[in-house]
Each structure stands twice: as structure tokens, then as C-alpha cells.
Symmetry: C2
Subunit: 375 residues, 2 copies
């Protein structure tokens, strides 16, 4: 039983002005600069890059990241891994716990097709992973997720992490692969110094844990983590081996509010936009666009209006966005404009296609094949 999604809002070759709205624009020049800028910033530190594909959900983008040196990608869900592997990606870390018999069966089936790693933070789940791997006749690589300050998933650093690693080592069908140590809570801390401090504490937690692992006779040569907000701090820490930044390719409005001064992290450009039409303009100080909650996620604040400094997107309802006209700019019904999403990841998840733009024309349409992949 399959259903087919809507056709894209554009055709290749169209002028941007002709593209129907709302849709998700990817400005290829800015996107490609971002794509290169992060690996280039890592030429000093000897560290691998495994970008997070939960941001883009698109094999076409994952393959471009890999072509620029990434060792593979991360994702959060088994169904995302399925979409990525089906799209040609051959090395995926599910940087998350996978729970439940249905998902474990799908996970180990994937491990027969590609290199797949997964995280764990609980003994019962490790037993389930071992049983599923055994039933499928595979050896599964499992990382211990350590809570390095985000207080979400992950075992406490130190002894609890070592105990879980020991259990994984003892499992016949599992291989202990290393530590997942992502400090998610630090990524959107605005001040550079506070972000640096949060990562310094995470680095201490990782160092203590790897030392204890060594004392227990468990070699740990793989520590993975970091996001766009902090990655340079992990990169130069000498305890991380791999970075998981994802949002750098798009740079949303929320990340743009971070201070980056002397962080060592380069300036990424906004490359992802929601293309929208003014559908109503019946008051002098207001215009209404056709992109609301179902076109741009507002969990991290309203979208920002690109290209017009005196216009603010002040209110989103399901299918409408209200623009407040604070200066001289006035719109007519039918005018089209670009919005910078507040938060790229859940915004991308609303769409089936990237409409890829270069020099004001549609150059390509990339399907977001892991859109809706929540299982």
C-alpha cells in the first residue's frame, strides 16, 4: 500500500519568479560554498567529518558531502538510514538509540547492505541488539552514548559508560565501536565563551571515560559528536575523532543568532529559503504570505524575511504568515519573497523536494526521500 507525494513546485529550467509557492529553495552557490567551507576549516586538526543527514534527509546531499571527504553520514532513525542507503550512501551512523523488535529487525537487515553503526545507553537494549544481530547473522557495531551535558539520552560518563562498554564487548554479535558524545545543549548557546566552556566540560567527561575504558582493557579509538555551533572546539580537543555537524550547509535563522567571533568556525551563508507569495494585502502595515506553520517550522522562532530589512514575519497560522511592514517597503498581491526558516531540520521535513536554484533559474530538483522518516 503506497501513496504518491505531490509533484514538485517547479520544473528544471524555470525562472525562479515562475516557481510556485510555498516551496523549499536551495541556493546552490551558497550551499556549495558552505559544503566546502566546513571541511576546509578542518585542514589543521586531524579529524574526520560525518555530517548529520537529519538536517537534509536527502541522499543527493549526503553523496556530495562524501565526495568532499566525509567518511559517511549520521542519521537519527532506522527509516532515515533506509532512505539514505537506498540512495547510495554506504556508511551510516545512527547517532541514536534504536528500540523495539520491529526496528531492530530493520536495523540488522540494513547492516547486511551497508556499514551501519548504532548507539546504546541501556543494558536491556544491548541484549536486544545482540539478539537481533545474532538472528540476522551479522556483527553490529555499537557505540556507547555518553551524556556529556545535554541531559537527554546517554549514560553518565565514567563508570556507567565503562560498564555498558564491557557488556557490549561481552556480546557475541556486537562490536564495541566507541563513544557517541554529542553536547546538543551547547549548540545554540549564543556566547562563544559559554559554548567553549560547555564543550570543555564534555571533553573532560570523554577523556575520563576513555581513560577508564583503557584501564578496563577496552580500546576506544572512536569518539564522535559535535554540531555546527561548536564543532571547532571538539575538533581541536584531541579526544574527538569525528564531527557530526549538519546545519552548516543551510545556516538557519536561529543558528545565525549565535556569536561566532574567534570561535574558529567560519561564517556559513543562508542557502535554504522558503519561497512564498503575498496573497493578501488589505491593510497598510501588513501583508499576508502563503507560508505558515505547514511551510516553516516555528519551534525556534519565526522565519526571517530575506532581502527586506524593514519587514518582519510576526505571526504564523497553519497556512498564513503575517508580515509587519515597518518601513517603506510595500507588497502587492502576487509578489514573491524568500523566508529564512527559523530552524532548518523540521522545516525540511515538511517538504518532498528541494528546488535547487542557480543564477535565478531552477537547476535541479532533489527529492527529500527521508522526509517523514520518523520510524
Amino acid at each position: 500500500m503506497h501513496i504518491v507525494t505531490f509533484r514538485p513546485a517547479a520544473e528544471v529550467g524555470m525562472l525562479l519568479a515562475e516557481v510556485d509557492t510555498p516551496c523549499l529553495l536551495l541556493e546552490l552557490d551558497a550551499f556549495e560554498r558552505n559544503l566546502k567551507r566546513l571541511p576546509e576549516s578542518l585542514r589543521g586538526p586531524n579529524i574526520r567529518l560525518r555530517p548529520h543527514a537529519k538536517s537534509h534527509k536527502c541522499p543527493q546531499i549526503a553523496l556530495r558531502q562524501i565526495a568532499l571527504g566525509a567518511v559517511g553520514v549520521c542519521c537519527q532513525k532506522v527509516s532515515e538510514a533506509e532512505a539514505l542507503i537506498a540512495g547510495g550512501v554506504d556508511d551510516v551512523l545512527i547517532a541514536n538509540e534504536v528500540v523495539g523488535a520491529v526496528k531492530l529487525k530493520r536495523l540488522v537487515a540494513l547492516a547486511q547492505q551497508a556499514r551501519v553503526k548504532v548507539c546504546a545507553d541501556e543494558a536491556g537494549n544491548v541484549r536486544d541488539l545482540d539478539a537481533a544481530a545474532g538472528a540476522a547473522g551479522v556483527t553490529l557495531e555499537v557505540l556507547v552514548e555518553v551524556d556529556v551535558g545535554a541531559h537527554r539520552c546517554g549514560v553518565a560518563p565514567g563508570a556507567p559508560a565503562v560498564a555498558l562498554a564491557q557488556q557490549i564487548v561481552s556480546c557475541r554479535h556486537l562490536r564495541f565501536a566507541g563513544l557517541q558524545a554529542y553536547q546538543g545543549a551547547a549548540q545554540h548557546v549564543r556566547q562563544v565563551a559559554a559554548r567553549r566552556d560547555a564543550i570543555a566540560r564534555a571533553v573532560d567527561d570523554v577523556r575520563n571515560t576513555t581513560q577508564l575504558l583503557g584501564e578496563a582493557g577496552i580500546r576506544c579509538d572512536y569518539v564522535t559528536g559535535a554540531g555546527t555551533g561548536s564543532y571547532m572546539f571538539e575538533a581541536i580537543s584531541s579526544v574527538y575523532h569525528e564531527l557530526q555537524a549538519g546545519s552548516y550547509i543551510f545556516m538557519d535563522a536561529d543558528y545565525a543568532k549565535n556569536d561566532w567571533t574567534e570561535s574558529g568556525i567560519p561564517q556559513f551563508e543562508h542557502s535554504l529559503f522558503v519561497w512564498t507569495t503575498v496573497m493578501s494585502a488589505t491593510a497598510a502595515d501588513r501583508a499576508v504570505v502563503d507560508a505558515g506553520l505547514k511551510a516553516s517550522s516555528v519551534d525556534s522562532g519565526m522565519p526571517r524575511v530575506a532581502d527586506y530589512g524593514d519587514v518582519e514575519y510576526v505571526k504564523a497560522s497553519d497556512e498564513h504568515g503575517v508580515l509587519q511592514l515597518k518601513g517603506a517597503t510595500r507588497f502587492r498581491v502576487g509578489d514573491k519573497l524568500r523566508l529564512i526558516p527559523g530552524h532548518c531540520d523540521p522545516t525540511v521535513n515538511l517538504y518532498d523536494w528541494y528546488v535547487c536554484i542557480r543564477n535565478g533559474r531552477v537547476e535541479a530538483l532533489w527529492p527529500i526521500t527521508a522526509r517523514g522518516a520518523v520510524l
Copy 2:
């Protein structure tokens, strides 16, 4: 170029406990009671019901509403109307403006297949509607949208509305169908008295406008509007002919915060849930579930935890939800529970399927064929 969405999280006949997560549950008994309860509450006032399908985006649900007496459904987008008409609905009001040549062409194509009405609030758009209808050889029914207090789309009541109606009357390929008068800003006002007052003002605006229309020789026998929060006030106003409530079938956490005392609006039940699994439980006062921002919209507040009064969903990240355990309840990894979405409409838009449950078993899977229909 088509892409195929993910398979549903369940199969018909499965026990609820076996259903994979996260997914969208529709509890059929509560849903069917809600479905009947609204039309039953209208037995006194002589008024038609045209439920808003933007909430459910599913022809299977629209057809059930029509079977219980609804005259058709509303939607907000041409692409939603396409999905509904493809699913067997033959009377759709697009309770919104449709702007741009691409959409107008699709709109008039739909008007050749089913009864389709649309709204307008601007002279240029009316000219475009007329031209598109003429090119397709159809007569399009157009309502004037009046701003009755929501300050979003719509012309001002009174003379501006009459002027637009006169323009529509003068168009060769359009028929003036009536007034769209939805007071969206009133729906979530918590206090009944304040909601009633807001609708009283809207009713005054409508009455003045229809009177002026009459004086201009334009008959107006169709005024449509209202939502779940206020519909009884419009129903007994004697100026509305049709109600557009949508959320009553699901009753989300935000609507449940409204006071309903002596509103005349019956108690609707929560029938829509996000089914989720505890994937991490490494701290005594916390559990993490696998439903985050991509599984439940948080624009109107966090989801509520059903069935456990001492557990609060306090934080959503992309793929995780953090539950605070405030009392005796403790969860183990693998436990499944139900969340009541904060806002039903954008939550439904994240999913491709309703997993329909009765007596703890999957009775049906209904595709959400207008999911993602933003064009």
C-alpha cells in the same frame, strides 16, 4: 517524477502494543462520537455544516463527515482540494485566496470536476480569477472574504466588501457566492464570554455588510465561517448559514484549554494521539521518548502525556521528547505511551497515515493524501 512515501507503522489486525512508533493514532470510538456530536449539537439552529479538512487532510474522514450531513468540506489550498476531490469529495470550498497563474489554472481545472468555490479579497485577484475561469470555460463561484476581527486576510466589512462583491458580479465568468467571515483570532480565546463577544462583533460586521449588499441590489444568502472554539455563537446568530469547524473531530491539547462552560458547545474528546516509545531512561526523574518536533508540532505548546497525570512532556528536540517524571510513575526503555498533540493540524501534516484503533487493535489505515499539500 514521483517519490513514494514510507509504509505505515502498522498492519490491520495488529495489537496497539505491537504498533511501531512514532505514529499517529486515531481512536475510532472517540473520533466517531466527536463526528456525531457536532451535528447533533446543531439540531436547534437551522444551519449547514462544512467541516474544515485542513485539520485532517484525508478524504476518508471528509466522506464520513458528509455522510453525517455535512454539505461538503473546506480546505485552504488548491493542492488540498485536488487530493480531496481525487478521494471522492464533490463539494469543496477553498476558504482562502488563491493567487498566481499556476494555481488559478489548477483551480479552474478542478471546477470542471466538482463543485468548487474560492475566496477573494482584492480587485486584481478577482480579475485574474475571471480570466482563468474564462480561459477554462467555467463559471467560478467566488466569495468575498471579510476581515471580521482576525486581521489576516479579508477586506474590511461594509463598503470595501460591497465594492469587491460588485466587481465579482460584473465579471462574466464569476458568480458572487457570498461572504467568508471567519473570526480565527477568537477560537483560542480561553474565556467563553470573551469568545462570545468577539463573535458578536463579527456578527455585527456581517450584518452591516449584508445589509449594504442588499441596498446595492446584491443578494447574499451565503455567509460561512466559524471554528470549533466558537461555532455555536455563529450558529445562533441568524446571519451565518454554514459552519467551518474542523478540530472538533480530534480535540487537541490547546483547544482543551478553552473554557466551554455554558457555551452550548459540547465536550469533544481527544481522539488523536502520537504513539511513542520510551527510548532512554538514564536519570531517575526523566524519560526520553522517540517523538520530537518531527512527530508533534509544538507551535501551540508541548504535547500532553495521556494516561499519566504525573508525567510532563517538557522539551522537544528534532527526534526526542523529554518527559519529566513528577510523581511515582517510572518508565522502562521500550514502554509505549500516548501523547495528545498541542495542535492537531500541523501535527497531522507530519504523517502519511492514520493508524485507526478500536478496542486496542488496528482496525484500518487511512492515508493522509493531502499531507504536504501546501501549493
